[in-house]
Each structure stands twice: as structure tokens, then as C-alpha cells.
Symmetry: C2
Subunit: 415 residues, 2 copies
């Protein structure tokens, strides 16, 4: 039996018991996990040093090394995250619907755990703890398969968490980490129907596409965001500039940042030079269509491909459009249904944009950067779903649950 | 471009428009479709005769031919189904959540269509109309791929529906029927990410497993049901007998019928002979474990495989267990998480069963045959989901929807 099958089977065996735990039992375990991470911070930092050393030897970029690095403040922040998850309301057992049928059957729809969740992710070791906390809080077992670059850190973190769980009502086997760094261990997870109930990939586009294209286990797709901000003719220029700058540069590497700015022609004629100047001042490289190039200096001509590229970097496409309809068409053709924004003082155009744009989150007069479980007030986030099934947009604890119908009768049979 | 890609593309192009239709516009179209089916019943029956003729030549069984056959009352019933869907509340546009963040952002979660739904199904031509009606009512476009045995019927039905839609606000292209009877057209649908948002297979286990195992488009799995009824020591014997008989013989061919009866040993000692006699009188072949064989005549020994078989027929497994825990273990090992029942007068055991059994529908003192969208009062059913993502159990109109977050601000940017 392979490591993946063995560990998924162990996790599966704990699922019935996990589903019966009380909120207090689960929270007590989460707090123990948090305490243990801080108490064992030194050994985690030592393990992390091995990953960093290997990374440097392999020529990993400084920015990736920074994402990988753990220190005491970071470990304390990760532990604090677990404590905050413990504070969140537990969705398990909630009654979602309750009704009586004319024949007297009492039907209740109850929230239950999904069962066993597989998480396939890349570098950052904080995901190991975050994902474990969110899954266990919702009564799910979890099989983690992190990136090989963080293997030593992840291994030590999970050892610490296992030791902490040993003194709680959550069986340690509910948390599994796949150590096999070969791609084949991922391939195996993708087909584990019956042992895994759902897969959540977290990472870059190629990781996610591999999971989406090859998994037979149901997947919640997260990630890719080619987000647009459309500045309408009537937009308040100061507000528009602030929102556009924020959407691009506040954190360009994340999925809810803007890749393309669409400007109404009359707005562009008046304001594109200022906008371009401001973006260039923020170190943003600008690529535009021909109209944009005529209106402001400092832009290079965007290629066809650019409109379909998630830069996740200080690069921005700018296109001039004749109005809302052309903006909607552009978004339909090039968007990834993640986050889209209109800046306008025209209520009718705002309403049309909110209704007609098909995306997880649609904004009027606010930065697309708000598409985030914490910013939405969910208190947690397992990822941002970009698919339409099950969950869409930022996923908090309820996205990690399913439901069942409990039917109480008095001898009813079907006629 | 293949037929499948061409038709899915046409359907996709209608999706934005469909999502904006009012309930009145959609209902008017559904009523037109219903009227047209009745008005054109004669030509549909003629087309159906071709299918029946081909079926008889191919040696199709009488029961399958009966499922395939259309006549005026059946067509009127199908049309009536569309009228009932028109009467149902339209979930699209419903506000699922609404809240304000401390920074003033107003966030609303709104129900929206899924987009384009692919339905892959077998013989019965009524599914063509049912599925079309439910998808269009929820603002979804639909690509139907029915079985080749009903091809002439389906083709004529869709022609009739297209003609009816031509005079309505639903573009006829929103409804597509794949005519290519080759298996390759199914294979192609399974990979149409970007054109199809979800696939719903309806039919036998092999059809469903093919879709689940090979689709890269998200799937809602429906179908397989190995359902158990557990008769506890304290059960009312008359109630238990009625529920067990109903669960097995009221319609053995469907997924919510019982395959295995679990009997508490003391209950079995007192009542198995009567139960066996009653089942045999109903033409049910009985297969039991060794204990059951010792307690009643007329049973043959069940094989290991029998406990994992969905007979969908007049065959029943009977196992004697020592109590609730053994029943729960058996269900965990052999159930398909569809519908499970306990008959008991012991409130504590009932509560444990309802909580601990992981299935779409769990019953206390009622027949598993009630797992059905109409019996649950949903007024419609696109299938019974046996997966945990998105929808679980009988699926009514809300199962055909997704959601989006509409965020209204006044210039908020992320700090």
C-alpha cells in the first residue's frame, strides 16, 4: 500500500468520529495545537532552516525564500490564526431547513462535515497549519500534500500538531501529511475516490490546472484571477484613480489584483495622462491598445496575449472602450470570473454591471482587492473558489461542509 | 468543429442573456413549450414509433420498451410537468445573504444561474423535456445528450420545443440536443471546460461512473443506492414490516429502494419467519447470512458480493446483527450514502442513527422510498445527488444555481 493510500485510509477511518465531536472538543484541540506550535517554535525554525538552505542551493528566488521563511513572530501569527479559528462559530449541526410534509414526515436539513479533504499546495508552510485548523474545526479529516520546498518545515509542523492532538478528542490520524515529494503522490491523490471527498488545490495556475484536468475526486477550483476595473464616463476621477492604483499595486502578486484597466473613451481623453503618470510613478509597466497609446506617453502596445495574461506583477493593460457594453464584452471575453469592478456615478450603469458581469465578486466603487475571506468578515479563508459549483468566491468554514436530510416519521410508507 | 462543440458554443452564447430574463419571461416560454408538445403530440408519437420499432428489432426488453414508449396521456403528463415547473418559485435573483462591513462595503450574495448545464442520460424521452424545463426555469442553457434508443423521439421533441421557443424571450439556442449517437460525443462533452459549467449524468451505474471517472467539467453525481433498513430490538413489528415491504417492493427498480434488511437478533428471533413469508409472498428472492438462514426457511446464503450489490430488483439481503453498532458498521462498509433507515421505538437509538449515519437522507420510522424531490415538496427533481459537494439528496431548482457577491462601495480601497 502506498503512503498516500495508507494515510488517506487512516484519515478516512477517523471521519465518523470527527463528525460527532462537540464544538468545545474541537476548539480545545485547536488551542492545544496553537500552544504547541509556539512551544516548539525553535525546532520548527530549525527544520525550516533546512528548507531554506536547500532552497538557496537550488537557486530559489529571494521572494520565494521569504515566503518560505519562518521565524518566531511568523509562528506566533500562525498560532494566533488557529486561536481565531477556534473563536469562530461552528457550522456543523446547524439546521439549514426544517419543514413538515402533509403526510407528517418531519424533514430537517443539517450541516455535516464533508468527510476527508485533500489539500494540494505549494511553498508556504503556514498553509499546513491554516488548512489543518479549518478542516478540523469543521469536523473534517485532512490529507495535506505540500510542496517539496517546504517538506522539512511541514514535516516538523505536523509532528508538533500530532503530539498536541494526542492529548485531545481529535484523533491525530485525522491530520495526515504526505511526505513523498514525487509528482506521482499528487497523481495518486487525484484519483482517490472513496477515500477523499474533495480536493482543494492552492497554488499557481499549473498546479491548479493539473488538479482540475486530472482529478476524478470532486475539486473546488481556486485561484486564477484576470480582474478588470472599468472606469465609466461619469466616474469621480479621484476615486477612480485611488481604486485603480489600489487594485494594481497594493499587492500585485495575488489573484484579486487588477490586470486590465478599461477606460471610457471620454474619461480616458480627460484623465489617462494623469493615470499613466501615477502608475508609472508606482513602477507599473503599462501596455495599452492603440487608443490608449495616442492619449498618453509611456505605454507600449499590448499584444493579443496580454489581455489574457495574469501578470501577478507590476504590469497593467489599459484599453479604451466606447462605453459599458464594450467593457462588458471585454470582460466576458478575457475575464476569469473572479473579481470585476466598475467605477461610476451612474446608478443605472452600476446596476447593469453588477447584474450582467458573471464573476464570483462584482464591485461598484471599491477595489477588487477586497475579495478575501477576512475582508468579507468570514474570519477565515480556505481559498477563493473560481468555480460555480458548491462555493463561489471567498470560502469560509461553511464551504467545508455538506448537508444531510434527517427524516422523522411515524411509520409512513410511499403509496 | 464537432457537433458537440458547435452546439455547446451556441448554448454558451445565450447564457448571459438567459441570466437576465424575468421570471415572467421564463414562465411564458415554459407554458409555450407545454402547449406545443400537446399540439404536436401526433408527430412526436410517430417519431417515437421509429424508436420502438428499432428497439424491437434490436431485441430490447419489454420493460425498457415500455419506458421508451410515448402516447397522448404520457405526452400530456410531460407537458403538465412543464406547467408545474412554471408555477414554482424562481430562485434566480434571490438574496442569500446581505451584510455591511465596518468600512461601509455593502455585500450581497445573490443567486445566479450556473450557466450551461450538460445532461447525459439514457432511454426515457421524458427526461429531455424535464431537464430542459428545469434548466431554462433557472436561467441556464442546456446541452442534452440522450441515449441513442430514444434518438428519434428526442429529436422531434427538441424540434417542437425549438419552434415553441422561437416566439418567446428564451433564445432557442439555449436548448441543444446532441444527435451524434457515438460514444465519442459523450467523451467530448466530459472535457468541455469553459463551455459547460457542470455535467449531470442520469442513468445506470456504468453511465454515471464513466462520467465521474473521465469528466474534467465539474460533475454532480447521481444515482447509485444500496439502501438499508435496520429494524431495532424495540421496533413496532407491524410498522417495521410495512416499512420494509414498502422500501423493497413499492418500486424495486429505483435508487431509493432497499437492498439489505438488517435485523436486531432478538427482533429477528421473534419476527423473521413472518417477514420472510411476507417477502416471499411478494415474489422477493431472499438471501441471508447464516443466522438469518437458521431463523427462517426460504433464504439462500448471501455471497460476500451480494452485500455490495444494487439489485434494483425483487431480491433482498437479510442480515442479523447484535445491535445498533453492528448495523452502523455494516452500513458504513456497504452503503452508498444514499438513503438509510432505522425502525425503532428507542429515541436514543433513533437519535444516534440519524446523527451517525453519513447519507444524503437518513430516516427514522419511514420508508427510504421518500427520498425524492416531489416527496420532499420541492415540486421538481433533476436527480438525487449522492456526492457531498454542492448538493446532496434530492435536487430541486436551487441545485441548478450558483451565487455571486455584489459589493457596493463609496471608494473603499484596501489598506
Amino acid at each position: 500500500m502506498s503512503e498516500v493510500v495508507r494515510k488517506a485510509s487512516l484519515a478516512r477511518q477517523t471521519a465518523p468520529r470527527l463528525g460527532l465531536l462537540t464544538t468545545a472538543q474541537k476548539n480545545a484541540a485547536l488551542l492545544r495545537m496553537a500552544d504547541a506550535l509556539v512551544a516548539e517554535a525553535e525546532s520548527i525554525i530549525e527544520a525550516n532552516a533546512e528548507d531554506l538552505h536547500r532552497g538557496r542551493e537550488n537557486g530559489t528566488s529571494p521572494s520565494l525564500l521569504d515566503r518560505l521563511a519562518l521565524n518566531l513572530p511568523r509562528i506566533e501569527a500562525i498560532a494566533q490564526g488557529l486561536r481565531e479559528v477556534a473563536e469562530l462559530p461552528d457550522p456543523i449541526g446547524d439546521t439549514l431547513e426544517a419543514f413538515e410534509r402533509p403526510n407528517g414526515l418531519q424533514i430537517r436539513k443539517i450541516r455535516v462535515p464533508l468527510g476527508v479533504i485533500g489539500i494540494i499546495y505549494e511553498a508556504r508552510p503556514n498553509v499546513t497549519v491554516d488548512a489543518a485548523g479549518l478542516c478540523l474545526k469543521t469536523g473534517n479529516a485532512v490529507v495535506l500534500r505540500g510542496g517539496s520546498s517546504a517538506l522539512s518545515s511541514n514535516k516538523r509542523i505536523v509532528e508538533v500538531l500530532h503530539n498536541a492532538l494526542a492529548g485531545t478528542d481529535i484523533p491525530p490520524d485525522a491530520l495526515q501529511l504526505v511526505l513523498d515529494p514525487n509528482r506521482s503522490s499528487v497523481d495518486e491523490m487525484l484519483k482517490l475516490n472513496g477515500l477523499l471527498d474533495v480536493l482543494i488545490p492552492r497554488g499557481g495556475a499549473s498546479l491548479i490546472q493539473n488538479v482540475v484536468k486530472n482529478a476524478t475526486v470532486p475539486v473546488i477550483e481556486t485561484g486564477a484571477g484576470i480582474c478588470h476595473t472599468y472606469i465609466d464616463e461619469s466616474a469621480n476621477p479621484d476615486m477612480a484613480l485611488q481604486i485603480a492604483i489600489n487594485a494594481k499595486v497594493q499587492r500585485p502578486s495575488v489573484c484579486n489584483s487588477m490586470e486590465t484597466l478599461l477606460l471610457h473613451r471620454r474619461f480616458a481623453e480627460a484623465h489617462l495622462p494623469t493615470f499613466a503618470e501615477q502608475f508609472i510613478q508606482q513602477q507599473v509597466e503599462l501596455r495599452g491598445d492603440e487608443s490608449a497609446l495616442l492619449l498618453a506617453p509611456g505605454l507600449s502596445l499590448a499584444s493579443q496575449e496580454d489581455w489574457d495574461t495574469e501578470y501577478s506583477d507590476y504590469i497593467l493593460n489599459i484599453r479604451v472602450v466606447d462605453g459599458l457594453d464594450e467593457a462588458l464584452d471585454h470582460i466576458r471575453a478575457h475575464g476569469t470570473m473572479h473579481s470585476e469592478c466598475i467605477v461610476t456615478e451612474n446608478a443605472e450603469n452600476a446596476a447593469r454591471f453588477l447584474q450582467e458581469v458573471d464573476a464570483a465578486a462584482v464591485y461598484h466603487n471599491a477595489s477588487t482587492r477586497f475579495t478575501d475571506g477576512f475582508e468579507f468578515g468570514f474570519g477565515a479563508e480556505i481559498g477563493i473558489s473560481t468555480q460555480k459549483l458548491h462555493a463561489r468566491g471567498p470560502m469560509g468554514l461553511p464551504a467545508l461542509t455538506s448537508s444531510k436530510y434527517c427524516v422523522t416519521g411515524s411509520g409512513q410508507i410511499r403509496g
